[in-house]
């Protein structure tokens, strides 16, 4: 059954969208990531204009993250204080990102920049996470292994404006989470992602937060950054398709709830290894596409439309 999307201005099979939303939502629930890094490329793949895909994914993330964050909040796995500090950076970063997106769109380089950002980020992160989680799994198999410290103190944690984060049991410089938030906010605006795939590893390895509070806090931050991006994209670029969003959500929120339950049964290291493989697969696919000669070297964009 086809449905007409008013902002994207085309018809798409509603069941394709529902299935897409459900699959991405399921992964989002398991890993505590928004799933936008899969949703945006998939939407572009089924023919949604990239600008609309990025902005509508951000909108979809709001709903998917609310649903996921509530599930984690009920388990007490959200560090609100850390979330708030991350958000300060997130708002600044997403504002900058939406502006940058509009500039890239004008000069016709949005797709290229978005693809290259995906390849670079996903490639590096996927590799690092795969190495780390493989090591952790191997270490666990050997009985009597040394117990790790609560977290490793790095030089960046010693920067000024130190703050105490009770829930995460950390005493570190607020500049680190603000800077991290800025970076994620910018990625969110340009790539239509919540940034969970950067945020989750960064929280674990850079901030040194306990793994249990990471997904919930990451989702909390994603809700607000994605909301900011949605409003700025709607007001500035007119690319948010609410009908598309709601269909993706209908499938996505249910998938996310199931995913959260499924994820609770998996062990942390296995979860991280799975996510690493997934991230690498997307990176490889996108990298290959960049180097493949397009069927038509010329493309046409209608001005005023998308």
């Amino acid at each position: 059954m086809d449905i007409y999307l008013p902002i994207a201005a085309l018809s798409v099979d509603v069941f394709v969208l529902l299935g897409l939303g459900g699959a991405v939502g399921f992964l989002s629930g398991i890993f505590g990531v928004g799933g936008g890094f899969l949703l945006t490329p998939l939407l572009i793949f089924i023919g949604i204009p990239p600008a609309v895909a990025v902005a509508s994914s951000a909108n979809q993330l709001v709903g998917a993250s609310v649903s996921g964050a509530i599930a984690h909040w009920r388990r007490g796995n959200v560090d609100f204080q850390m979330g708030f500090v991350l958000l300060i950076g997130g708002f600044l970063g997403s504002g900058f990102g939406v502006w940058l997106f509009a500039v890239l769109r004008r000069i016709g380089q949005v797709e290229l920049v978005v693809s290259m950002l995906y390849v670079a980020l996903l490639g590096v992160l996927g590799t690092l996470m795969l190495i780390e989680s493989t090591r952790a799994i191997l270490r666990q198999r050997r009985p009597g292994g040394t117990r790790r410290k609560l977290h490793t103190h790095m030089w960046i944690h010693g920067m000024p404006l130190k703050m105490r984060f009770r829930r995460s049991k950390l005493y570190i410089s607020a500049i680190v989470p603000v800077g991290l938030g800025f970076l994620i906010g910018m990625l969110s605006a340009i790539m239509g992602v919540g940034g969970g795939f950067v945020m989750v590893p960064a929280m674990i390895y850079m901030l040194g937060m306990p793994t249990a509070v990471v997904p919930g806090t990451s989702l909390l931050q994603i809700i607000f950054v994605a909301a900011n991006v949605t409003i700025l994209q709607a007001a500035g670029n007119g690319t948010v398709d609410a009908v598309l969003t709601m269909i993706l959500l209908a499938g996505g929120v249910i998938g996310a709830q199931l995913g959260t339950r499924f994820g609770a049964k998996l062990r942390g290291e296995q979860l991280r290894a799975l996510l690493a493989l997934l991230v690498l697969a997307v990176a490889v696919k996108l990298a290959r596409d960049l180097g493949v000669r397009p069927e038509d070297l010329y493309s046409v964009v209608m001005e005023g439309g998308q």
Binding site: A9, V66, I231, A234, V243
Partner: protein, 249 residues
């Protein structure tokens, strides 16, 4: 679609209804079975029937043009193992949709000079760029524009068939694909006799979003910020609702 365009669309509609009244002096009269293509939630393309009558013998040629838009054509080339948009050309006031239909093959009813003069057929469309270009470049980008539009089904490379029912009545079907741009389309009907145009008529066709989709689009255009806020609120509400059944799990 903005309210301004909608008003223009309405004016066009009224003009269309009025047009047949003044048609008695012409030797070709034509009209559409419907002057409005409504893009609603389930829209997946449609077709509109054009019918008419000629006075005396002759051949009929129908040209359908979508609203003029500026189109940017970009060219990719390989830069360090990656395909990058390296050149772009903007064509101004390009028909967003183009289709023709005729009662006989074009070459049989009109000399190429006439087709060029009237800009009939994809090869004869005058497409102008926003800045002067070397002729070879202009031709290259122009070909690319037409090819892309053809691939999207917005330019129909082959002329459709105008069929005569008896000597004077004729009809043809205009296919409207699912991805058509909204706006006012002009359907030009020419009567040709002895390799010359002896009569013509233009019938407007409005392609417009209707119903919930139109409301959403209209709201998003006019109150972009409020639309953004509403989109966020709706999404958040949906997320919260979805978490309710799982509360006690």
């Amino acid at each position: 679609m903005s309210p301004g365009i909608r008003r223009v669309a309405l004016a066009g509609l009224l003009a269309a209804l009025a047009a047949p009244l003044g048609a008695h002096a012409q030797s070709v009269v034509a009209d559409l079975t419907s002057h409005l293509v409504a893009i609603t939630t389930g829209f997946n393309g449609t077709s509109v029937v054009l019918f008419g009558a000629t006075e005396g013998a002759g051949d009929v040629l129908v040209v359908v043009q979508g609203p003029a838009r500026d189109m940017i054509v970009r060219h990719k080339s390989k830069v360090a193992a990656v395909w990058v948009n390296t050149r772009q050309v903007t064509f101004t006031a390009v028909p967003s949709f183009y289709a023709i239909a005729s009662s006989k093959p074009l070459a049989e009813i009109a000399p190429s000079g006439l087709l060029q003069l009237q800009q009939i057929g994809l090869d004869n469309l005058h497409l102008t760029t926003d800045r002067p270009l070397p002729a070879a470049d202009a031709a290259e980008f122009r070909t690319a524009l037409v090819r892309n539009q053809e691939r999207d089904g917005l330019y129909l490379p082959e002329a459709g068939q105008v069929t005569f029912l008896g000597n004077r009545l004729f009809r043809t079907t205009i296919g409207i694909p699912a991805n058509v741009p909204t706006g006012i389309y002009l359907v030009q009907v020419f009567l040709l006799r002895n390799n010359a145009v002896v009569s013509g008529q233009t019938v407007p066709l409005v392609v417009s979003e209707l119903g919930v989709d139109a409301e959403v689009h209209d709201f998003a255009d006019r109150y972009a910020f409020a639309y953004g806020v509403a989109a966020v609120a709706l999404a958040a509400l949906a997320g919260w609702l979805a978490s309710l059944p799982f509360r006690n799990a």
